[in-house]
Amino acid sequence: MNENEQELFEAELRRISPARPPADLMARLMAAGPPDMMRHEAERPVVPGLRAWWLVRLGWLVPAAAVVIAALGVWRVRLSPARVSWQTRAAAVAPALKADDVRIGRELISEFDAVARLPSGEPFRFRCCQWMDEVIVGDKARGIVIEQRTPRVEVVPVRFETY
């Protein structure tokens, strides 16, 4: 079959159309939708149109901005000695610190979901968690406590299962 014949044959096939769905199926489909739209609208606080548009179109910027802010925070703490707390400075000038009370912990500050869209139109969800990492080093004998708290943002992409 050459290209011309193929096109003619395709046109022949397109002349017939798929059977229309039975009325009861159409009624079921009409009644079913648009899915979740109503529920989401009811649950969401009412926002002005522009803001809603912003949230939908630029929602993916939220986790990206959070990552950048966290990275800047970490960079400033590590590279700027002038900003080290007075406890750290005191520890630095003191002779060897005997750390006998070390605590490492983390605290969940907040968590939220963000949804972005791939160029193919597929939705892509991100799970974002804001943590506060905490390290406490203490020397009980000398009464020194060094405490460092570092904010950290964890962004985990969660792919929707589609196939």
């Binding site: 002349r15 017939i16 939708g33 989401h40």
Partner: protein, 172 residues
Amino acid sequence: MNGGCQRETTAQSDWEQWLARHAPGLLLYARQQARCEADAQDLVQEAVVESWRRQADGAPPPLGFVFATIRRRAVDLARSEDRRAGRETVAMRETPACWFDSAVEERERSHLIAEAMRNLPELYREVITLKVWGGLTFREIAKALEIPANTAASRYRYALVELRKRMPETIA
């Protein structure tokens, strides 16, 4: 409050237009995938609702995504049915629903094409359905069937040749 009502009305209107346009093609594909008419209708409903629900902004889902969901659900359904005794479903397959529009002037042609399509191997049948009556591109077909785009295109050409062989001269 008016804004909310207006949004709901618009969404409902989009929904109805989308369904009117695409439901026939989706049902045709589901009928080819399912073992009985009731299953086909359920597949369409579940796939459409599921696909739409996954749209974060409430916009209509990409059509290829809905076809892929129908296919995936049909495979799951077939697996679960295979575990049961299949006598009832086989009996229902003997009275298939009409696949195409049966307007008087096209009735004979529709019947012949439907018969030829039924006799095609499933691989060929689904690629023709997705392209001709689903309106998908080869890229979308490839994604829906989880095959390379080149394979989708070549399979489509082979499928047309096979379908044409099975048609009476007057139409082919």
